[in-house]
Symmetry: C2
């Protein structure tokens, strides 16, 4: 059905460049957002955004408008917008900012199911020579223009998926009676060696940027029961790999009265929940990223759980020259994960290659009560966790064995002096998990402004 | 009605020190949490926690159990638990960790409406000489024991209120189609002078800890439309005040196509929403903090909006020696806020005392299109925001006038070169806002592990 439209009357209405910030983009056609365009079928809406693409013939122009929430094709013809505006539209350059009005129409050829029949358009700022054109650019160039690269469809999809993942993580823990208790970023002590620590003068002393909120989360768990912290962490990694960032976000649940078994149950349930929520809520973003949703739909409980020694056996069968006591690198993790179609939990590593705070296995004193979760598809470790040593004298001995300063850990030892309880937790790296869910192999795209050894700009 | 209870049978059941981490504390009596005890009226539950207080006579002992989500009175008598256990209970020391079982019973004298009739108790770890006793301690002592002080009822209430406030903030923006886009912590440039910046060696160069995510949020807004960032920010403030921390969390919405008017509308609606949500969801926490809820219930739109020049008039009437061009300190903010029973928005300050990126008022070139929100009750500024300068040449001129390095801002200037749009935003300091809502005068209690000039431990 073709609607009779009163173009002259509409073009007299002024276009408002300002949106109502309180609008959710769904309820008010004057403040519509492309992500919610389905709510405005057959209605006239006002959109604000940028020209992402344009093609035209003599009689019709197709403008791809992006508003940050999606992209919609806007169709302009001289009879709808007048000759003057039509000619202006045909001359629009990439990334020019515009306000426009038009009628939302179902269109089965459109990825989002709708297009817009333009009735009005005003230019806010004409862009000249936008640096990121339609041609292929190298990653170095794109990274140098990260502040502009963020506008491309794939990067917007990644940032939207990141936001959904963060929300999924927080909602998961909140729904299970965890409380968010933030750990500090600036810490007084170099806990596990200073080689990968960022250091800063702190008034008359010195401070370090945290590598993990765990020790503080342990104090919080003994105060609040079930807690998580979720914030930026830092590693001055002097290596360039696709899995490492100098600044990355980590979520770390810590639970009083939980053992290793519970820690694995929690990690498994948590990963299933956040992956399925992204599948559920981000179909458009995953499609834009050309991510196989069927690979993600397989991420369901139970996950395989193998002991470190079984992992060694798998590697030996695959001709890796490994023996008990060796740690796993990326290649080993990939080889193990290839055996499974979902994340695999490896538990009870040798204590010699693990941190001082992990509890020794009472059934085998060579082992620590710890676990890593290895994601499939070569992504590698996304979770590391353990039961924590809760016995004061054992922990004091371990601090000594690891040549750590006991003074630095006095407050941490207090947690074993006063009301010690069995407790466990884990850390999940946000960017690596996002890279896995998004099917993006390099973590540098999984954070808005990546920080790496050779990257501090913009 | 007195229930007939089968104590002998119950005491034979083993107590499990481990909780199911997937339980929300409401559905399963074996994994009950005190915050949800109402769901277990007249049922037997298993609780895990710490002894917060104990008093006893010959025939009955009253144990206050805290589990991090609340405190419940547990009543023990020899006939219910046996003479041996009863005698053990009477000897329990503060902060001893225990697992126990008992019957949940309505009790009108209880703050939470219920008490527990104990049937079993096992000690996990007996605490000797807990440093924080019932007597009054000085703040310096408590701050030095922050990792333990966090366990006290008031501090737990504050941390729970903090978690709810953070959730309220995130849910508010998410519900209005904002996307979370994290700004980086490590930044390459000292944007507004280096005097209050923390600096760190960054591989072969140097980096600074961010004082605000705004500039990056502007880039994100031009990519994603409506965004917010929410993370830790840093100020090396060389002053000791009750309003300042060296490390604090800030939420910063930034909206493309929004002017100062929209910015004020957003700030007002946002503050009303987060305050009312805390009132709604945290009655127990506010009661523990002895906070007047009626003062908070008044925080409803519309907020008074006055121009800077009107604020000057108020101050002159109150005998402050101020004139046009002066900035306001804490005393001035308090004096202005005393005139109102809800937050007051002061807008259009002289541009000479405001940041380079703020847009000049086209109607009065002495002024900037900016606003601060001053909370009542002497709390002071909780929000600062503005419309941003979107014209390239004006911004270039301002960078020069402020003696800033143009090179450092090349990427930021790109946002005005390519698809510039009017845009605005603000920043809200989390800890100061929490202090206001909680009625806690010093921000040091509003963060789990405060960092101040003289405070980096624990």
């Amino acid at each position: 059905m073709k609607l009779k439209r009163e173009a002259p009357e509409m073009t007299e209405r002024k276009l408002n460049p300002f949106r109502d910030p309180l609008s959710n983009g769904r309820d008010d056609p004057e403040n519509a957002l492309i992500e919610s365009i389905v709510h405005f079928d057959n209605q006239e809406v006002c959109l604000r955004g940028w020209v992402q693409n344009l093609r035209s013939s003599g009689k019709v122009a197709f403008l791809q408008l992006r508003d940050g929430t999606g992209v919609i094709q806007c169709v302009a013809s001289p009879k709808d917008v007048g000759e003057e505006v039509f000619s202006k539209i045909r001359g629009l350059s990439l990334e020019t900012s515009v306000v426009l009005r038009g009628l939302v129409k179902k269109d089965d050829r459109s990825k989002i199911g709708f297009e817009l029949v333009l009735s009005q358009l005003e230019v806010l700022h004409s862009t000249v020579d936008y640096p990121i054109g339609k041609k292929e650019h190298g990653v170095a160039f794109l990274m140098q223009h990260r502040h502009l690269w963020l506008r491309s469809s794939k990067q917007v999809a990644l940032m939207r998926l990141r936001a959904e993942l963060i929300k999924a993580i927080r909602d998961y823990f909140d729904s299970k009676a965890f409380r968010l208790v933030d750990s500090p970023i600036l810490t007084p002590n170099a806990c596990e060696g200073t080689s990968t620590l960022f250091e800063t003068p702190y008034f008359d002393s010195v401070a370090y940027l945290t590598q993990s909120g765990q020790l503080y989360a342990e104090a919080s768990a003994l105060a609040c029961g079930k807690v998580y912290c979720f914030g930026p962490t830092f590693r001055a990694e002097k290596s360039k790999t696709r899995r490492h960032l100098a600044e990355f976000w980590m979520v770390e649940p810590e639970v009083a009265f939980m053992d290793l078994q519970g820690d694995m149950d929690l990690a498994e349930d948590f990963i299933e929940s956040i992956v399925q929520r992204c599948v559920q809520n981000c179909p458009h973003e995953l499609a834009t990223l050309e991510r196989s949703v069927s690979a993600l739909e397989k991420i369901k409980k139970p996950f395989p759980r193998i002991r470190y020694e079984e992992a060694i056996e798998i590697l030996i069968k695959k001709k890796f020259p490994v023996k008990f006591g060796d740690d796993f690198g990326g290649d080993e993790e990939t080889a193990i994960s290839e055996e499974f179609d979902r994340p695999v939990i490896i538990h009870r590593y040798p204590k010699s290659i693990k941190a001082f705070y992990m509890r020794e296995d009472p059934e085998d004193d060579r082992l620590a009560l710890c676990m890593d979760v290895i994601a499939p598809e070569g992504v590698g470790e996304i979770i590391g966790g353990s039961e924590r040593e809760s016995d004061l004298s054992v922990l004091e001995k371990k601090i000594q064995e690891h040549n750590l300063s006991k003074d630095a850990f006095e407050w941490y030892l207090d947690l074993r002096r006063f009301g010690s309880v069995p407790h466990s937790g884990f850390g999940l790296g946000l960017e690596r998990t996002l890279g896995w869910i998004a099917g993006v192999p390099h973590v540098r795209e999984c954070v808005p402004f990546p920080r790496m050894m050779d990257k501090i700009w913009p």
